[in-house]
């Protein structure tokens, strides 16, 4: 026998880190995505702790201190057309802007995935009916569909959320249907069906785990669009109502002040831009970390 001793077997068998863990490890190495995540986290913290951070009451108007420029004492970012402190309104604005911009996507993700996965798995007539309905919604550019629904339902927080959710459900359902149709034809699904597993078990155990990643990545990419659309609806007067602080609405009311104080008037748009681009970059990072092809 040889004198060389073998290493303990348990040291040779390496455990694979697992799908989610390796995804997060890859994401954590992505500097751009991490920066975007940091910005988003900061925005959420601003929204949650707005009363603690904001230097002034966002609704305290002052007719004699209207449209102060950036850098005025007590008004670090100036004041708006009703003399309200811009910095405080931008901080408080994060609350409603993030609520109306972000919430529709997870709701649409759940409903759209359910519809799409069922349609993709069932196939046949059910699939045709669902996918033709989805086609109808695809006949509207997103902005037009959102405006049509909000315009008919009227302004307000709930109606905005409903309209945007309806805009995103067909988009998510279409992606979910196409990936499910691909997975459904794979051998292990056939095998499960042949061994007599009921449909709901196959969907939950074989299909769901394999389709969720691409649907999820697509849904995260919609948040950036949703932020712009939601604030756009408010900008048109279709979203939240005054005097609530919301970036799109602030942009709308400050439009009249564009000659008097242009730099203050464009500030809320900067916030929408930063939020939208952060969500977009994070979604891009997630896409490559999860290795989903677009």
């Amino acid at each position: 026998m040889t004198a060389i001793a073998l290493a303990a077997p348990k040291r040779i068998i390496l455990r694979s880190p697992g799908y989610w863990k390796s995804t997060f490890q890859r994401l954590a190495r992505d500097k751009v995505a991490m920066t975007a995540l940091g910005v988003i986290a900061a925005l959420f913290l601003c929204a949650i702790f707005a009363p603690l951070i904001a230097p002034a009451d966002p609704n305290a108007a002052s007719m004699i201190r209207r449209l102060r420029p950036i850098g005025t004492p007590n008004y670090p970012l100036g004041s708006d057309e009703l003399g309200r402190d811009m910095l405080s309104r931008l901080i408080y604005g994060a609350r409603l802007s993030l609520i109306i911009g972000v919430t529709p996507v997870p709701i649409a993700f759940v409903i759209g995935s359910a519809i799409g996965i069922l349609a993709g798995y069932a196939g046949g007539l059910f699939n045709t009916i669902i996918m033709r309905t989805v086609d109808v919604f695809y006949a509207f550019p997103s902005v037009l569909l959102a405006v049509a629904l909000s315009g008919a339902l009227g302004s307000g927080l709930t109606n905005t959320l409903v309209s945007l959710t309806v805009v995103f459900i067909p988009q998510i359902a279409r992606i979910a249907e196409s990936v499910t149709t691909q997975v459904r034809q794979l051998d292990y699904v056939e095998a499960a069906r042949a061994s007599g597993a009921p449909a709901y078990r196959i969907i939950l155990e074989q299909v769901l785990g394999n389709v969720l990643a691409p649907i999820f990545v697509f849904a995260t990419s919609l948040i950036s669009v949703s932020m712009i659309l939601a604030s756009g609806l408010s900008f048109l007067g279709l979203g939240v109502r005054p005097p609530d602080a919301e970036w799109g609405l602030m942009l709308n009311t400050l439009r009249t002040a564009i000659y008097a104080n242009p730099l203050v008037a464009i500030l809320p748009g900067v916030m929408i831009f930063i939020t939208s681009i952060s969500f977009n970059l994070l979604s891009d990072g997630l896409r490559s970390a999860m290795d989903v092809k677009s």
């Binding site: 006949a139 509207f140 037009l144 405006v147 315009g151 008919a152 900008f235 007067g237 681009i277």
Partner: protein, 317 residues
């Protein structure tokens, strides 16, 4: 070709019917009595009953839809509450302005986007490539209504070069292809062009790099063909997809122009829609959305057919 065209047409019909049902239902999902939305608030009870019968609101929903759809097919979309004029007439005069704006924006966006995307695909991994990808992310993420305001701040408020709002020197009536009119078109068109520019740049970049990776391009360069000839081949292969993306973008811009037209008070369909929302003019809202959606559907069909003509391989797939 005819079989392909027929198939596409058959596919479009159910979508068009679905779109019309959606638009029809818009008045019914609106809170309150649909009649109340159509009539002025001070209408007498007798007049209300008369109108109820006339519009068919006393009939079952499906019959109402049939009547509405028949009228819509004949170009009768009802009367605007705010102005009392026919909705179709209002849309027709606004549509011209919207089309001018959307075509101008698509032209700017496509020219710059295709150029940028082409260079990025040809020079992959260089600074041009990085610039193109950054610009395409910015183009998608920027709230374009805000970008419009920023451009107004720069070019109208600060520099005073271009007018901030309006549809031309003589309002919506004065359309002439001269510099005076062009000045009004420039800012909204540039603002609008940012959206397709990024998307087209990204599409063209990936098309070009795909074609560049193909064997025949390798062969061409191995045979000592010069860059201009290779570029010609690359363009021929990338053009059909790029053009179809452009067509779709034109549709998106026309349908989604409401925000930019509102910022610049450009008297197009988006501006009309915005007015309809403010005055709760539901027939005008419904009619405008129907026309815009149908236009988008037809444009998709035309793009599909053109693509089938340019690239016969698509017909077989």
């Amino acid at each position: 070709m005819y079989a392909y065209a027929f198939k596409r047409l058959l596919h479009i019909i159910p979508v068009a019917i679905g779109v019309s049902i959606f638009c029809f239902l818009l008045i019914h999902i609106a809170p309150g009595d649909p009649l109340a939305a159509i009539l002025p608030s001070d209408a007498t009870a007798e007049f209300q009953a008369q109108m109820r019968t006339l519009y068919g609101f006393d009939k079952p929903l499906i019959v109402q839809y049939g009547l509405w759809a028949m009228r819509a097919l004949q170009g009768d979309l009802g009367l605007s509450i705010a102005t009392g004029r026919s909705v179709s007439g209002e849309i027709a005069s606004a549509a011209v302005n919207s089309i001018i704006l959307a075509v101008a924006a698509t032209f700017i966006g496509f020219t710059l986007g295709a150029l940028l995307g082409f260079m990025a695909g040809f020079l992959r991994g260089t600074w041009v490539d990085r610039l193109a990808s950054s610009l395409s992310i910015l183009g998608v993420c920027v709230p374009h209504y805000w970008l419009g305001m920023v451009l107004v701040v720069i070019f109208s408020v600060t520099l005073g070069w271009l007018p901030a709002t309006g549809g031309g020197p003589g309002g919506s009536a004065g359309r002439a292809f001269d510099w005076a009119y062009f000045r009004y078109l420039l800012l909204p068109a540039i603002t609008m062009s940012v959206i397709p520019m990024g998307i087209i740049a990204r599409t063209v970049r990936s098309l070009v790099s795909d074609v560049m990776a193909q064997d025949f391009v390798q062969t061409l360069s191995a045979k000592g063909q010069m860059a201009p000839r290779i570029i010609r081949h690359v363009i021929r292969n990338a053009a059909p997809t790029a053009l179809s993306v452009m067509g779709l973008q034109l549709g998106y811009l026309l349908g989604g122009s409401i925000l930019i037209e509102t910022v610049f008070s450009w008297p197009g369909t988006g501006f009309l829609l915005n007015g309809a929302i403010f005055t709760r003019d539901l027939p005008l809202l419904q009619g405008t959305i129907l026309v815009l959606a149908m236009f988008f559907v037809s444009l998709n069909l035309i793009v599909d057919l053109l693509q089938g003509i340019i690239d016969p391989r698509i017909q077989r797939s």
